[in-house]
C-alpha cells in the first residue's frame, strides 16, 4: 500500500476529539472531571462543525472538488467525518448514560429525564413550567415542505392569520410576545423564505419541535388527556397530512438545570428543555401534540467580516455577529424522540442524513460543564474528591520587599509557567506600570481577554494616569468579538490609543511593552512575551509559557513590532523576533534546514517542537527532509497533526505525541539542537497555514541559558509522559502511552506543578538555611 504523506486534517481533528473523550472514558479520571471532558467533547464538536465542516461544505458548494494533500476529495472527507464523528458521539453517550450519570446518581446527583419523573415530581415541574417558563416562550409555526407522499396542495389547510394559529391567551400567555408566524407563502403568493432553512432558529440554541394536529373535538386540557391524545389517538392518513410543525426556543437566559424540591438526601435535577418538551402542548390550545423532539442547529460560523470596509470596522463586525446567528446550517442534533420530526427538520434545513446526529440522551452536553463545576460541588457531599486535587497556582516570581518588579526583570530574564505558576506577575507588571510615575508608555496586544479582567483594569488606570497606552485589540478573535467590542470602547474612553486590529490579518501575537524613564534619565523598556493570551481566566486552565525581559535587543525589536501593528510603520525586518506572516515561517524553515545540514551520523540533529496543531505542508516537508538527514524529531502536538510519523524512508525518525490532561496544553515551543549551540524559541503560532500566513504571530528566543535549560526540561518531559499522552502511529491511530512494565505512570503536568512548588519552597527557606541552597535566578 502506498503510504500517505499527510493525514487529512479534519479526520486528524476528530482523533483529537476522540482523545479528549478518552480522558472522560478513563476511569482513573475523577468523576466530575470525566463529565467535564464529555462536555468539552461536545463543545469541541460545535466549533468544529461551525468552522471546519462549514468550510468543507462551502468548498463543495462552490464546485471545488480538488482532492487535498491527503488525497481525499471534499465529499469523501465529509462522508468520513460523519462516520467517525458519529462513532465518537456514540461512545460519548454510552459513557454518559452507562457510566457517568449512574455514578453521579450514586453520589447523590441525579439528572432525571421525563421517563423517570415521579408523578409528584411531574406535578411540581408542570407548575414550575406554567409559572416561570411558559411566559417566556415564543412558539413559531413553521411552514414545512410536504412530507413524502403528501402533495403540496393539501399540506396546509386552514391557513389563517397569525393570531389564530396559537391563541396564546387561552393558555394564560396574554403577556407573552405575539407568536411569530413564519409561514412561507404570504398573501401575494411569494415565497418569503428560502425553502431550505428556518433562519430564526439560532445557532447552537436548544429548541423543542412539536408536531401538532388540530383537535376534532374540544378536548379537556388536562395533562393526562393531552398525553392520551398525543400517544394513543388512532391517526388516519388525512389527519397526518394536516399535521403542523411548531418550534419553541428554550430560553437561553434560564438555568438549564432545575432542582426538583425533594426531602430525600441528594439532589434531583430536571432539564429545562425536558420541561418544555413535556409540557409544551400547553402552548398550543386546540391542537394535540402528535410528536415532540429536542434539537439544536449548528450553523456556519466561518463567515468573516468584510475586510475592505474600512469606514466603520466595528459596525461591520457587529453585523457579522448577527449574521452568525442566521448563516446556513451545517448540522442538526436531535433527541431520539421522533424520527418523523427529525426527518422534517432535516429537510427544512436542507441537510442530509449524514448531518443529523440523533442522541440517545440529553442534547447539548456543553452546558453540563456547569454541572461539573458548581452545581455538582454544591450537591455532592465531599464533591471535591470527584474532582482533580486542586493545584492552586503558586507565585514564584515575586520581587523582594526592597526591590521593584523593574529591578527584578533588569537583573535577569524571568520565565513564567502558568497555570502551575500564578498569572499574578503579569497583572502586577501592568499594575506597576499603571501606577509608576516613571513609566511613559504601555503597548500591548489583546486577543482574548475578559472585560472585567485585571489586565484591562490596569490599562484603563494607566491611561487615566496619563501614560501613553496603545492597545491592539483583536476584534476578530472568533466567538469573542462581542465582548471585545465593549471593553475596547471603555479603554478608548479612558484615553488609550486603541487599534481595532489589522485588515485581513488577525493579531494573535501576545506582547506587552513598558517604556520607563529610569532615575538617571535613560529610557529602559520591559517586555513580556507570551504563548498565551492576556486572560486571567484562561491562565488558570491553559498551560502557557511567557518571558519577562529587559533585554535591549528584544525590546527594540518589540518596539518596532508595535510600530508595525499600530500603524506607525511599514513592515521592517527584525533581528531577534520573527513575525508572521512576514518572516516567521521562512525562519523556522531555515532553522529546520540548518538542523538537517548540521546533522551527521556521529552527532545527529535533534528537533523538539510543541504546538497545538501541525498542518502546514511546507513545514512538514522540511521535517521530512530533516528526517532524511538523520535528525531526530520529537513533536508534541495537542490537536491536529497531519504529519505521518514512523514511515520508513519518510519519517522513521519522527515521533509524535499528544498530551492532554487537566490543563489545556497551549504553549508553542521550538527547540533546535543546532550542533550544540542550542536555540530555544517560544511562539504564539501553531504550524498551520492560517497562523503562518494570515495572522500576526511572534516567535521569540529564550536567550538566557538557565531559562533555556528550564524550557528544555519542560519540553522533554512531555515525551516521557505516560499518564496523559497518546502516541501517533503511521496509520493515523493514536494509542495511549502506557508506563513501562512495573513503572508508575509519569504525568508531565503533575511534575511541572511539583517543580514549581520546589522552586517556591527554595524561596521560602529561612535565611540561615538558605546559604547552602543558592537561589537560582529563576
Amino acid at each position: 500500500m502506498k503510504t500517505k504523506r499527510y493525514f487529512n486534517r479534519e479526520l486528524s481533528w476528530l482523533e483529537f476529539n476522540a482523545r479528549v473523550l478518552d480522558e472522560a472514558l478513563d476511569s482513573g479520571t475523577p468523576l466530575l472531571e470525566r463529565l467535564k471532558f464529555l462536555a468539552i467533547t461536545s463543545s469541541n464538536f460545535d466549533e468544529f462543525f461551525m468552522v471546519r465542516v462549514a468550510s468543507l461544505k462551502a468548498r463543495i458548494a462552490s464546485g471545488d472538488l480538488e482532492p487535498e494533500p491527503s488525497g481525499l476529495a471534499p465529499a469523501e472527507i465529509l462522508a468520513a467525518v460523519a462516520k467517525r464523528a458519529k462513532e465518537i458521539v456514540r461512545r460519548q453517550y454510552d459513557c454518559l448514560l452507562g457510566e457517568i450519570l449512574p455514578a453521579l446518581e450514586r453520589e447523590g446527583l441525579a439528572v432525571v429525564r421525563p421517563s423517570t419523573w415521579t408523578a409528584a415530581e411531574r406535578r411540581k415541574l408542570e407548575d414550575h413550567f406554567a409559572d416561570l417558563v411558559a411566559p417566556l416562550l415564543t412558539p413559531l409555526r413553521v411552514e414545512s415542505p410536504p412530507e413524502p407522499g403528501a402533495s403540496a396542495s393539501d399540506g396546509l389547510p386552514g391557513k389563517s392569520a397569525a393570531g389564530d394559529v396559537f391563541p396564546g391567551s387561552e393558555v394564560g400567555l396574554s403577556d407573552a410576545p405575539r407568536p411569530l408566524d413564519l409561514e412561507g407563502p404570504d398573501a401575494s403568493g411569494k415565497n418569503a423564505l428560502a425553502a431550505h432553512d428556518i433562519p430564526s432558529i439560532g445557532n447552537l440554541r436548544i429548541h423543542a419541535a412539536f408536531l401538532l394536529r388540530p383537535e376534532q373535538r374540544s378536548a379537556p386540557r388536562g395533562t393526562s388527556a393531552d398525553r392520551g391524545a398525543d400517544r394513543g389517538a388512532g391517526r388516519d392518513a388525512d389527519a397526518a397530512k394536516s399535521d403542523r410543525l411548531a418550534v419553541v426556543q428554550v430560553p437561553p437566559n434560564l438555568d438549564r438545570f432545575i432542582r426538583i424540591p425533594t426531602d430525600a438526601p441528594g439532589l434531583r435535577i430536571a432539564l429545562l428543555d425536558d420541561l418544555i418538551a413535556a409540557f409544551g402542548q400547553r402552548l398550543f390550545p386546540g391542537y394535540a401534540v402528535v410528536e415532540r423532539l429536542l434539537f439544536k442547529v449548528t450553523r456556519d460560523a466561518d463567515i468573516g467580516v468584510d475586510e475592505d470596509r474600512e469606514d466603520d470596522f466595528i459596525a461591520a463586525m457587529e453585523e457579522v455577529l448577527v449574521g452568525r446567528q442566521n448563516s446556513w446550517p451545517v448540522r442538526l442534533t436531535v433527541s431520539a424522540d421522533s424520527e418523523r420530526l427529525a426527518e422534517r427538520l432535516m429537510r427544512l434545513l436542507g441537510l442530509g442524513i449524514d448531518d443529523v446526529y440523533t442522541l440517545p440522551g440529553p442534547i447539548d452536553l456543553r452546558t453540563f460543564m456547569e454541572l461539573a463545576s458548581n452545581e455538582g460541588i454544591a450537591a455532592i457531599p465531599g464533591g471535591e474528591r470527584l474532582r482533580y486535587q486542586p493545584w492552586p497556582p503558586i507565585q514564584v516570581f515575586e520581587p523582594a520587599e526592597d526591590s521593584t518588579i523593574w529591578d527584578e526583570i533588569r537583573s535577569g530574564d524571568r520565565l513564567l509557567h502558568v497555570p502551575y505558576e500564578s498569572f499574578d506577575p503579569v497583572v502586577r507588571f501592568l499594575e506597576a506600570a499603571a501606577d509608576d510615575p516613571a513609566v511613559l508608555a504601555i503597548k500591548m496586544t489583546l486577543y482574548r481577554t475578559s472585560g472585567n479582567s485585571p489586565v484591562v483594569r490596569a490599562l484603563t488606570r494607566a491611561a487615566r494616569n496619563g501614560k501613553q497606552v496603545a492597545v491592539l485589540v483583536e476584534l476578530k478573535a472568533r466567538f469573542d468579538e462581542e465582548r471585545n467590542i465593549a471593553w475596547a470602547s471603555r479603554l478608548e474612553q479612558a484615553g488609550a490609543i486603541v487599534v481595532y486590529g489589522l485588515a485581513r490579518l488577525k493579531v494573535h501575537a501576545k506582547a506587552a511593552l513598558v517604556v520607563r524613564r529610569e532615575d538617571n534619565g535613560s529610557i529602559r523598556r520591559y517586555l513580556h512575551l507570551s504563548t498565551g493570551n492576556y486572560n486571567d481566566r484562561t491562565a488558570r486552565l491553559y498551560s502557557d509559557l511567557s518571558l519577562f525581559t529587559a533585554n535591549e535587543d528584544l525590546c527594540r525589536d518589540a518596539s518596532v513590532f508595535f510600530n508595525m501593528i499600530t500603524g506607525y510603520s511599514t513592515v521592517q525586518e527584525l533581528r531577534f523576533l520573527a513575525v508572521a506572516p512576514f518572516d516567521l515561517k521562512s525562519r523556522l524553515l531555515g532553522m529546520i534546514a540548518r538542523e538537517a545540514q548540521r546533522s551527521s551520523p556521529e552527532s545527529p540533529g535533534l528537533l523538539m517542537f510543541k504546538m497545538n496543531a501541525l498542518v502546514d505542508a511546507d513545514t512538514i516537508d522540511a521535517l521530512y527532509r530533516a528526517n532524511a538527514a538523520g535528525v531526530r524529531v520529537l513533536l508534541n502536538v495537542r490537536g491536529v497533526c497531519v504529519l505521518v510519523p514512523g514511515v520508513k524512508g519518510l519519517s522513521e525518525n519522527i515521533r509524535v505525541v499528544s498530551v492532554l490532561g487537566r490543563y489545556l496544553e497551549h504553549s508553542r515551543v521550538f527547540y533546535f539542537r543546532n550542533g550544540g549551540a542550542e536555540e530555544m524559541y517560544l511562539s504564539s503560532a501553531d504550524l498551520m497555514p492560517r497562523n503562518l500566513e494570515k495572522r500576526i504571530e511572534l516567535l521569540f528566543p529564550i536567550l538566557d541559558e538557565t531559562l533555556r535549560e528550564r524550557v528544555h526540561e519542560i519540553l522533554a518531559a512531555y515525551f516521557m509522559d505516560s499518564a496523559g499522552a497518546h502516541s501517533l502511529a503511521r496509520d493515523g491511530k493514536w494509542k495511549r502511552v502506557e508506563p513501562a512494565e512495573g513503572e508508575k505512570a509519569y504525568s508531565s503536568q503533575a511534575d511541572f506543578y511539583s517543580v514549581v512548588k520546589r522552586r517556591r519552597a527554595l524561596l521560602e527557606e529561612p535565611p540561615e538555611r538558605e546559604l547552602p541552597v543558592r537561589r537560582r535566578p529563576s
Partner: protein, 514 residues
Amino acid sequence: MSEPASKTPLAVIEIGSTGIRLIVAEVNGTGGFSILDRAGKPSRIGRDVFTNGYVSRDATRESIAVLLSFRELLRGYGISPRAARVIATSALREAANRDTFVDRVSLQTGFHVSVIEDLEENHLMYLAVQHALQDERSILSRSNAMILEVGGGSTEIMLLKRGRMAGSHSLGIGTVRVDEFVRSSGAAPGSLRQFLEDNVRTACDLLEEELPLDSVKTFIVIGADARLAASRIEAQRFDQYAIVAREAFSRFAEEAAALSPEDCVAKLRVPWSEAESLGPGLAIERLFLERTGAEEVVVPNVSIREGLLLAEARGPDPEHEAEMTRQVAASAAALGRKFHYDEDHARHVADLALALFDGLAAEHGLGGRERLLLEASAILHDVGSFIRASGHHKHSEYIISNSEIFGLSRGELTVVANVARYHRKTPPAGSHLNFIALPREDRIVVQKLAAILRVADALDRGHDRRVRGIALERREDRLIIRAEGSKDLSLERLSLAEKSDLFEDVFGLEASLS
C-alpha cells in the same frame, strides 16, 4: 549606574523622496548612540516632485498624517515635536512649494523641518558609514573606496583615496526619477537599462578623473535596496554591516531587475513601499560596482538618519572636527588636482593663511568653520589657471561654485568661490553680482578671508616657498610678519605692498614683512 544623569532620547526624522522615517536613540556620552526605536512609512513626495515639480495636496496631507502618528509615537518617549530633528532631502529640496510644505507641517504637527542640502547629505552619510565601520577602520583606510547611496531623487557618491576624500558628488539620478522616466517615455525595459548605463558611464568617466575607479577595492553601498539584497543572499554578517561577494550582488541585482514590483513582494517578501525602487536601485548600484575593482560589497546597516543622529549626538567634538576638516581639505585638493593646480603652492599658501588666521583671532573674530573655508579657498585659489592665467581668479570662482566639495554646503561653497575670486586684483565691490548676492554675514566673511588669503598668497609670490613659516607681531596699527627662511624677500615685499590693500581696509592694520 554610572551614566550621566538626565538624557532625553533623541529623535531624528527624515522626509525622503520615497518614505518618511524615524529613529529614536539614546546618546551614550562617548559620541555613540543606541537605537531605541524605528518606524517608517512610504511617501510619494518624490514621485510628485520629480514629475510635477511640487508636492501635491494629497502627499502633503499624507505626510502630515504620518508625522502626526510619529508625534504620538514620540510621546511614548516623552519627546516633544520641537525636540525632534526633522530633515528633508532631495525631493522636498527641489519642490517649488517647499516653504509652504514646511510651514504647514510646522503648524499642524509642531515638527520643524529643515531642508538639507545634497552636500550636507553626503556629510551625514559619511558620518554614518564611518560609525558603522568603526570597528573595522581598515575597511575605509586600507584601500580606495567608493561610498554610494541611490536615493529616490539623487545618487550620492563619495570617493576615498586611502581614507581621504577624493571626490563627493550628488548625481541627479534616482530610483523614482528613473521610474518616472520609464513611465513617461513608455519605454521598453531594455531602454531603461540603456538609460541607466549611459548615465552611470558618464558619471564614472567624470569620477575617473578624481580616482581611477579600478583602484577602488572597497565598495560601500547604503540604502534599503542594498540591505535587502544583503539579507536575501549569502553574506558575512557583522553587527553593523554585511559583506557580500561582488558576483552574488550583481546576480541578485540582475534577478531583482527582472522582477515586477508584484513579484518582488511575492517572491522576495519585500514590502510594497520598497518593491518599486528595488530593481532600479540595485541596477544603478551594480553598474557602479562593475566599474570598480572591488571584489566585495560592504553594506552598512545605516542611513543618513544615523549620520544626523551622530552629528546631533557628538555636537562639537574636536577630534571629529579635525577629521572632517582633513576630509574637506582632501576633497578640495582632489578638485585642485583635477584641474592640475600647483599643489605645493596651494598647500603652502593654505598653511600661511591659516597661520595668519590663527594669529589674528582677536581681529577677525571668526570660528573654526570659517577657518575651514579659508583653507579650502587657499587650496583652490589658483585652480582657474587651468582655463587661462589671465583672469584666473574669476575662473577659480566659476570652477569652485560649480563643483562639489565634501562637507561644504552650497552656501559655504559660494563663500569659498568668492574668497578665491578676490585673492587678487579688484577687491569686492558693489557692482560684483556674485558678491552682493551673498547674505550680509557671508559678505563680511568673504572680505575677511580674502584679505588674509591675499597676504598669504603674496608671501609665496614666487611659488617657491621661500617663506617657510611666519611669526606675527603687533605694533599699534601695524602687523609685522616675521618670515622664517630665505633672507631675500624683495619679491614678496613687493607683492605684499600690492595685495595688502584689502587687509588694511578690513583689519585696519598695515602689514609688513621683515
